[in-house]
């Protein structure tokens, strides 16, 4: 299967069932996912350094509630202040425009080499493929993104995109693409990446980053990173483009200081991440470094539509990844089966909200509604509630003759008639009892092995 087609298959929520079945039976992935559980414990330690973490979550949640309620004013203010400092602001309503705007900037500046620091939004818009088709070289510089770019895979986690890969797999990849001695040692692999990516920082004509926050009061753009590639990307090339979406705007630096406390602890179990870069405008006249041009692309692709809906709270998401770190489903199937940019609980909701029912309608059902995600979400998004709301949206759209709708309608009907209900229950009991084996366990019902019976029995009714 061609690499392109392979990537297309992986990157499609409609293939959810096929993809997760493949992953359940993948022992390498199982090992990787087991390894990644350590982040659950490390987060528990990190939150201890805040005297009242639940209070902090309340504050962050309220900041986001208020910001999202006031986006109109915040963004107008932000734009005014950003422009004052020399930022060139672009607005985009669809992915094609995002890519076109960036290409136009590149063309105007005769850009041949682009370096990128992590940006999920450019994954949404498919920027890399777009620029490569226009013969512009794009190098991902975040270690995880670099790995998956070179193995031609989509990210499987929003913070650690190569979390599904073992060090042996990375070693095999690096021995193919680097002209260096093969090693299985993680430190040496990292050093190799540093050496191989470094020249790109100095050769780049344009740097593209994301933005974790926009600060309305000052017109600033903030990125939160650990590796240093974000700083390289926003300082060395002569042009810097930050791609962000409208819901990232907050008011001021007090709010930023507060949000950072929950973000870094929830994302990487750090009290603070290594580099917090707050950029406001371009290189000042006498500065020795910094880009001559700074562009910010404010995209609203589907966001205002979500804002108008009953799942608007998903826009509070600050992309920490805590929900997927604590999700039993994510930890069984990994990130790829979710089929698009965002995996895990927030991914099910956002993918489904942005791509619609037909393409991603299965995703909100792939949850036990345990709420292990909701209790760790730093901005208190009621994730299971939003999943149920999306299920309602899908349910209303499906045909009355679909099997699930027939069963549920039937169940609701008999539940309103206690005599019929009890008769039905006793019939079910009789049928189930007949299916049981000598040890009082059922392995199929009337010859049918429903999903329950995959490597599991059903106890006989007592």
């Amino acid at each position: 299967m061609s690499q392109c087609l392979k990537k297309k298959m992986l990157f499609n929520p409609s293939n959810f069932k096929k993809n997760y079945n493949k992953n359940i039976n993948n022992p390498e992935l199982k090992k990787s996912l087991f390894r990644s559980r350590k982040i659950v414990d490390s987060r528990k330690i990190a939150i201890k350094s805040v005297s009242d973490f639940e209070l902090l979550r309340n504050y962050s949640s309220e900041i986001k509630n208020i910001s999202i309620s006031n986006l109109h004013q915040l963004l107008i203010n932000w734009e005014k202040n950003a422009k004052k400092n020399g930022t060139i602001v672009h607005w985009a309503e669809n992915y094609e425009d995002v890519n076109k705007i960036i290409y136009k900037i590149a063309k105007k500046n005769k850009v041949k080499n682009v370096i990128k620091s992590k940006s999920m939004l450019t994954e949404e818009s498919g920027l890399n493929d777009y620029l490569i088709k226009k013969e512009i070289k794009v190098t991902e510089t975040d270690l995880g993104e670099y790995i998956i770019q070179n193995s031609n895979e989509p990210p499987s986690h929003i913070i650690a995109p190569a979390i599904h890969k073992s060090k042996e797999q990375v070693s095999e990849l690096f021995s193919r693409i680097h002209n260096q001695k093969t090693t299985n040692n993680i430190e040496e692999l990292t050093q190799q990446a540093r050496e191989n990516i470094r020249p790109h920082f100095f050769n780049a004509d344009m740097g593209i980053t994301g933005a974790n926050f926009l600060i309305s009061d000052s017109g600033s753009t903030v990125i939160v990173t650990n590796e240093g590639n974000g700083r390289m990307t926003n300082t060395l090339p002569k042009v810097h483009v930050a791609v962000t979406s409208i819901e990232k705007c907050i008011s001021n630096f007090e709010e930023l200081s507060l949000m950072l406390r929950v973000l870094t602890r929830s994302a990487t179990s750090q009290n603070i991440s290594n580099y917090i870069s707050i950029t406001t405008g371009t290189k000042k006249q006498k500065d020795l470094d910094g880009p001559k041009e700074f562009h910010v692309i404010l995209m609203d692709v589907g966001r205002t539509k979500i804002l108008e809906s009953d799942t608007w709270e998903i826009l509070k998401c600050i992309r920490c990844g805590a929900c997927m770190n604590h999700c039993p489903v994510y930890h069984t199937i990994g990130g790829h089966p979710y089929g698009w940019v965002y995996p895990g609980p927030m991914g099910s909701i956002l993918n489904s909200s942005l791509l619609g029912n037909k393409i991603a309608g299965d995703l909100p059902y792939a949850s036990t509604l345990c709420n292990q995600c909701g209790v760790v979400c730093p901005v208190k998004i009621p994730l299971p509630e939003l999943m149920v709301k999306l299920r309602n949206r899908k349910y209303k759209s499906i045909n009355i003759f679909k099997f699930e709708k027939i069963i549920l309608t039937f169940w609701a009907f008999i539940s309103k008639n206690p005599r019929i209900f009890n008769f039905f229950i006793s019939t079910i009991r009789k049928i189930l009892k007949l299916q049981a084996n000598k040890k009082n366990y059922i392995s199929s019902i009337l010859g049918l092995k429903f999903g329950w019976f995959i490597k599991r029995f059903l106890p006989k009714p007592k």
Partner: protein
């Protein structure tokens, strides 16, 4: 005081005895137990599948079935959670009469272990004895919707001879999730395998919990894994300690 027992569908199908055991326990502590015959389903299967319209109808039925009873006890964290946490949204467009009924119901609905803990007191169980080493699985709805964590443990600890050996991750979901276990059976089965491995590592012969859905899931998997570990609802353990292995009529 009258206690209404909402025994739940899964109990109705898989273990009706549990309802009678619950009744016996409550009667021992001088509660008059009523079991409204018109009760059916709390609407959770419909609600969780996104069928809000029918869920609304069923919530109305429940409210009418149980209105007027002093207390309502539910041997399931997920059903109690449904009624306490999701009904408010379902009844927003109903006439005030229904809303008032629900308002008065709401303060008197309890998940089973919560009722015992708050209204009867764990201390009452120090008069009973049962030699049992068990581990306790926290059902997700009970834990995260209703904050059921200490209640069952405090009650169990009071019974002479009961020892709780905690698994490494008792709060980890067992993978049941209602229709999830049917729709995504493969994933569900993998999740419960992890839970069972955790249980097996405790070396106990009994896992206790508060939701029959979790019980069926864990029991069905343990059998598939060829592990001989008993799965009991809290009601089973309490009943056994109080009445030993009497036949329930």
């Amino acid at each position: 005081m009258k206690v209404g027992l909402f025994y739940t569908c899964l109990v109705n199908i898989f273990d009706p005895d549990l309802a009678y055991k619950a009744k016996k326990i409550l009667e021992f502590f001088d509660y008059e137990v009523v079991i409204p015959e018109s009760q059916t389903c709390c609407a959770q299967p419909n609600f969780n599948s996104g069928d809000f319209d029918n869920s609304q109808e069923l919530s109305k039925s429940f409210i009418n079935d149980f209105y007027g009873i002093d207390y309502i006890v539910v041997p399931s964290g997920s059903c109690a959670g449904m009624i306490l946490k999701n009904y408010p949204e379902l009844i927003t467009n109903f006439p005030d009469e229904i809303k008032e009924k629900y308002k008065s119901l709401k303060k008197n609905i309890f998940e089973f272990s919560d009722f015992i803990y708050k209204k009867i007191g764990s201390e009452q169980f120090s008069q009973f004895s049962l030699e049992k080493e068990l581990t306790y699985h926290d059902s997700c709805s009970g834990l995260r919707q209703l904050k059921i964590k200490n209640q069952p443990r405090e009650i169990l600890k009071k019974i002479k001879g009961v020892k709780i050996n905690e698994m490494s991750e008792p709060e980890e979901c067992c993978g049941f999730g209602g229709s999830f276990s049917l729709k995504f059976g493969g994933i569900s089965s993998e999740i419960v395998e992890k839970k069972c491995s955790d249980i097996i590592k405790t070396n106990v012969k009994n896992v206790c919990l508060g939701d029959l859905g979790c019980a069926l899931n864990i029991k069905g998997k343990l059998e598939w894994m060829k592990e001989d570990i008993e799965v009991s609802h809290l009601i089973d353990i309490l009943h056994e300690s109080m009445f030993k292995k009497e036949n329930v009529i």
